[in-house]
Symmetry: C2
Subunit: 267 residues, 2 copies
């Protein structure tokens, strides 16, 4: 288990774990089972979109494995989740069997409550495994394969969630904003402030700095400041210095010469 | 052993190892002994300044230890090197017993050949342990305690070493250049090019990007380009994104959320 984080307002826990493919798939299955046993979506609420107790399980290739192998693992894992837990499964991104399911937000449309009603009458929303209805308390689980992304939230100095939503629309790729950026606006009740919550699906194309600057600029145009930002889960070092090696024309800048990485091997 | 690197022109090997204080001091002693047994400075040459077969041994506090404890360890290690190997020792930086020995370059002045002649007649150059003369083949060893520094070299697109030396004088702190920067100009015969070789002793004050830009600007003023740069040994991640956390106003940017660090713990 590399990292875990939970958030009161999003009401969501993100677990990051790594290992050999079989071990990761086994751990993912057990984590889904634990969530299905413990979380009742009919009594759960939070600002983050979700359709399942175990909402989304992305398999990410790190070393010695490709995205296609992760996609195959996702399909096996998805079949097992349906067979053993009776939770319907959608396959997404590199594991998607239909083009429109490459995008997680298309699968999540309407959330648990909306999908629960629609899934039986709209053939386009039929799960890849299981159905016809959702699991009564655990909804559905989205399983897939994708590359590393950066989940990055920017907190605005306002409680006006409509501004956060307007900024999200401005900066996200789907409405002509920054490439490889997904964004929504949410209200963090615990902080009394609105947040632009983003996924940077290719941090080499749009690194956190560029996304932050765009949000800050849009907020400033409405006379609102930025309070802070946060990284959800883990972030590749290269996303923080996306152009360091290039700017320095550095011959040997790699994770192997980063002191922190080498010290981490001692722990 | 976290890292090792050697260079034909500098003719120098840098080893980086880490562990508990006693283990590190024992390993350092054995590394010095191996160098003393194998390297004959009367037959060694290279562009990097040196006075010893085992030239300099800095103890660097990483976690759970302070610079003063490292300085005490350096004094013990230095005494042992003299007692068991009969190699005289100078103490430097935080372990220095005289102010002028805080600077490594003052101790190294004249190199092995110059110091060998001067050490017996100039009391100011008497070693902290041993003497009166240097070890005939292994010279002297400089032992001390310091914080992490970044050794960073910039290769110029010219064989004119006098330009590299002039740039080094411009950028180094001792002649009014960038704070916490040490720099020399050397010729890399194997590449037919001159290099500005730097130590950034406080990368928070002057990070590699600032040093690189200064060298590139000075070179450009003489119509010379920069070919590349290289990091010698290891570099803290924070030196590559010295202002990332600040710019992003990021609440939780720490080594614990860097994916590379967490993956490194698996290896």
């Amino acid at each position: 288990l590399l990292h875990q984080t939970s958030d009161t307002d999003h009401n969501r826990t993100v677990l990051t774990f790594a290992g050999r493919p079989e071990a990761v798939c086994e751990a993912a299955f057990r984590a889904v089972r634990a969530a299905v046993e413990r979380i009742d979506l009919t009594r759960q609420s939070g600002v983050h979109p979700r359709i399942g107790a175990a909402d989304v399980v992305p398999l990410v290739p790190l070393e010695g494995i490709g995205i296609e192998e992760c996609a195959a693992g996702a399909a096996s894992l998805g079949a097992r989740i349906w067979e053993e837990l009776r939770v319907p499964v959608y396959l997404y991104e590199a594991a998607a069997r239909e083009p429109e399911r490459r995008n997680l937000e298309m699968i999540r449309k309407g959330g648990f409550e909306g999908l629960r009603d629609e899934v039986r009458r709209n053939p386009a929303r039929k799960p890849d495994f299981g159905g016809p209805g959702l699991h009564p308390s655990a909804g559905a689980t989205v399983v897939g394969a994708r590359n590393v992304l950066v989940a990055f939230n920017v907190l605005l100095d306002t409680a006006d969630v409509s501004l956060a939503r307007a900024i999200a629309r401005k900066v996200r790729a789907s409405s002509g904003g920054l490439p490889t950026v997904k964004a929504i606006g949410v209200l963090l009740a615990s902080k009394g402030r609105a947040q632009v919550s983003m996924n940077l699906t290719d941090y080499r194309t749009t690194p956190p700095r560029v996304a932050f600057d765009a949000v800050a600029q849009e907020a400033a145009a409405s006379g609102v400041g930025v309070v802070s930002s946060e990284i959800v889960g883990l972030i590749p070092a290269a996303a923080l210095w996306p152009d360091a090696a290039g700017h320095l024309r550095c011959e040997n800048l790699s994770p192997d010469v980063i002191l922190d990485n080498r010290i981490a091997t001692l722990e």
